[in-house]
Symmetry: C2
Subunit: 203 residues, 2 copies
């Protein structure tokens, strides 16, 4: 692409470095920002800089937050008895969006992945075990991806709880075919496992 | 979407306001910028602000430029005899990318569109007529969209040149079916016109 302006070129290249944005889209976005009032463009750039400079990790659960303790951990109306364990903040947000969970969270910051060199010490598992020992904690819901890494992580946490004699219920989120999905389009592994893990019909 | 952080929320909303970016993509981009080194994110935001604050319009042709005269107008190797007239800078860049044109440009800043209230005075037509009077100018290539507005604009410019007795050749870029395109997928208007505007076969 021929740029008559290095200023535009720098912006297009910065946009094109973002995931899912190609050169053509990047150019379109750069021109859009040129056509906006200067104030709007400044606000856009400032929002990004403020976010990057000001974002914090919740001291309790590992959620991203504007303060040292996140809004969910601070909220007295949330149930402290149940902790939902997730890989990352995106999973937490996806669960929050369902509005089906009113407990607390714990963000692991990843999954145990020996091949990629991610061990338990790289995650917030020690913090989770600490939280599990607190008297109000009754249940850990493992809301991790149904992959080998996810299963390994669940196995490891469960083993640690047993070894330390920490008495909490550990549960997995239900796995099976998607609600509303056409059975013929479900992937084979999910479909096969959903037959093995069938549940009694409550008529 | 539930945001535990206003900083993230502001950035997601700023991204989602850009064309072609939905809420899910905006969230993905915000998290990407959080995961990058702070320096990379700062550079991204600064590139945008620098571009918006520093961009200029070339005094000669109307191209976007970092300086008062753009690189194309400054380049002594470009042919001053031919001026390619385009609607906007994006069209100029698309033509530059083809590497088939080595003349100069003139950016109109739009097309005459009476219904939308865009008249000749809103465009850089007066500047174009001025450039056309310069002795080195021999040809204006009208590289405008093949629409009613495009045709109106070409008609108007041509009329002005005649009325002022400015003696330059005016040409249109070729219109017809796309090279390499399947004829059956060409739109009806283009296909119809390409038959009317057929050219002799040079065997």
């Amino acid at each position: 692409m021929n740029f008559s302006s290095n200023l535009i070129k720098d912006t297009v290249e910065a946009f094109a470095a973002l995931p899912g944005i190609g050169r053509k889209s990047a150019l379109r976005l750069a021109f859009h920002l040129l056509e906006q009032p200067e104030e709007t463009t400044t606000e856009f750039a400032e929002a990004i800089q403020k976010m990057r400079a000001g974002i914090k990790t919740c001291n309790t659960c590992g959620n991203l937050s504007d303060e040292d303790i996140c809004g969910i951990c601070k909220d007295p109306s949330r149930d402290s008895k149940v902790i939902c364990v997730v890989e990352g903040v995106r999973d937490l947000m996806a669960i929050e969006d369902t509005q089906h969970f009113r407990g607390r969270y714990h963000v692991l910051g990843g999954l145990i992945a020996p091949i990629e060199g991610v061990g338990p010490a790289d995650l917030t598992i020690a913090d989770l075990l600490q939280r599990a020992t607190q008297p109000e904690t009754q249940e850990l819901i493992m809301a991790l991806s149904p992959t080998i890494d996810g299963d390994t992580t669940i196995f490891y946490i469960n083993k640690q709880l047993h070894e330390r004699g920490i008495d909490v219920t550990v549960s997995n989120i239900a796995r099976g075919v998607s609600f509303g999905g056409e059975l013929e389009y479900a992937d084979g592994v999910t479909l096969g496992r959903s037959i093995l893990a069938r549940t009694p019909y409550k008529g």
